[in-house]
Amino acid sequence: MKLFETTRRAVMAIAVGAAFLGPAGAAGAQTAEKPFITVASTTSTEQSGLFKHLLPQFTEKTGIEVRVVAVGTGQALKIGERGDADVVFVHAKSAEEEFVAKGFGVERLEVMYNDFILVGPKSDPAGVRGTGDVVKAFQAIAEKKSPFVSRGDDSGTHKAELALWKLAAIDPKAGGSWYRETGSGMGPALNTAAGMDAYILADRGTWLSFKNRGDLAILVEGDDRLFNQYGIILVNPARHPHVKEKEARAFIDWVLSPEGQAAIASYKIEGEQLFFPNARKKGA
């Protein structure tokens, strides 16, 4: 008798559990109805608010939802390599070219650019303000051993920073504790730099939309070597047959079209344009 009662109660408990499971399952089914693609992109495009501005326009026109996974460029390429995204939208030219050369992507197309900036404390202990020469500024920071925060996460910005140290002929990791690798995204790294009044290389988009600036300001900008090009790549459907080639191509074509390029140019924060479209015309 007791056993029967216990069984009855167990069955009821499972039924209550199933009632919780039900709605979650139904919600999963709903989102699956709409066609969508997955885009692996960088924290700079997501956190600057560009995608929030751009994607609804594309979705309204085509009915295709775009799901963005925003990570560092290195990880975004890895996600594409494993076939977990349909499109990769990042900013590290040589890594992108290698991605295509290895057959993970179909073709690398240039979309837009913005620039990196050297941000640092307003007191500017290394005296780099207004030099306009980012390599000299890096050398001055190393010489003064002023705190410098590095992304340290294999992102596009991290790769660009390492390239600048190379140009400056300095191995920052050899120099002691002034060089601090945070292994985090642009925003968290900026939070860290703001917290310890350090210098940091940032992309302009994230900086413009970043709110916790503390005592930091732009100190060096406008050097040609701070150019930051974004590229878009279709993940190779020959390698990953589940890639939604048609929808993904529609997205890439739209981003590169005059309409998509105009949409990128029209994104502004406090009157300042964040990204500058520079797609080449088809066949040009």
Binding site: G17, A24, T38, G83, G187, N191, K211
Partner: protein
């Protein structure tokens, strides 16, 4: 401290305006974590009770392992599930990565050891107390499992709530397997991480306050139900 008043104001604004994005991510958080806890309870409760009663070689090693897994770092659980569900992984063809289902799986992995380990302790204590009675009634060890689970139900609510606390609070696992996609896999904790990244600390903390209120409400409801049920049970 500077910032707390702004955070409270942000939290208040989010709640009173019934911000639709907030409702969406809060609902998703609850769906994912509650479903994961239900799954974990369905596995963890019987598993814990069986571990308390059964005698087999390697049992102690298993108990220690499950106890240790209570401390499994969420990001590690996330990575394991990521590699399983990735297109290049064994379950790749199902295309589950970057979906709420993936987040439920990852949280179930995290929560099951907590519920199993706590259940084992509760049931083992109870078994010591009632062993003679139950065996004199002719119940075998395994047939005593449902009875003991039922008798321990009030203590086990705490085990399940501990699991829910873990699920609602973690960000490492769901960030990796969910991808924090706006409108699809963005939950309270991943949104907090994102707003922190954007340097919008008041909004991040405001979201944190909202999350705390939700978790508090769930625990209060469980407590109330428990007291009422205990009274009814005499």
């Amino acid at each position: 401290m500077h910032g707390f008043d702004e955070a409270l104001a942000a939290a208040w604004r989010l709640i009173v305006t019934g911000d639709t994005a907030l409702v969406e991510i809060a609902t998703l958080s609850l769906k994912v974590s509650l479903t994961a806890v239900v799954c974990a309870a369905l596995i963890g409760l019987p598993l814990g009770a069986a571990l308390a009663l059964a005698r087999f070689p390697g049992r102690n090693a298993l108990v220690v392992t499950i106890n240790a897994l209570m401390g499994l770092p969420p990001v590690v659980a996330g990575l394991l599930v990521y590699l399983l569900l990735s297109r290049a992984g064994p379950l790749g063809p199902y295309g589950l990565l970057f979906t709420p289902t993936a987040m439920i799986i990852a949280q179930t992995v995290l929560v099951t050891p907590i519920i199993a380990a706590l259940t084992r302790q509760v049931v083992a204590d109870l078994w010591q107390e009632y062993r003679e009675q139950l065996t004199s009634l002719g119940a075998s060890r395994l047939r005593a499992v449902p009875t003991l689970l039922w008798d321990a139900r009030f203590s086990l609510v705490t085990a399940v709530l501990a699991g829910l606390g873990r699920a609602m609070a973690e960000v490492g696992a769901i960030l990796v397997v969910g991808g924090n996609i706006a409108g699809v896999t963005r939950t309270m904790t991943t949104a907090i991480a994102l707003e922190t990244s954007k340097g919008d600390l008041p909004l991040a903390l405001g979201l944190g306050i909202v999350l705390l209120v939700i978790v508090l409400a769930i625990n209060a409801a469980a407590h109330l139900l428990g007291t009422t049920a205990r009274r009814a049970a005499g």
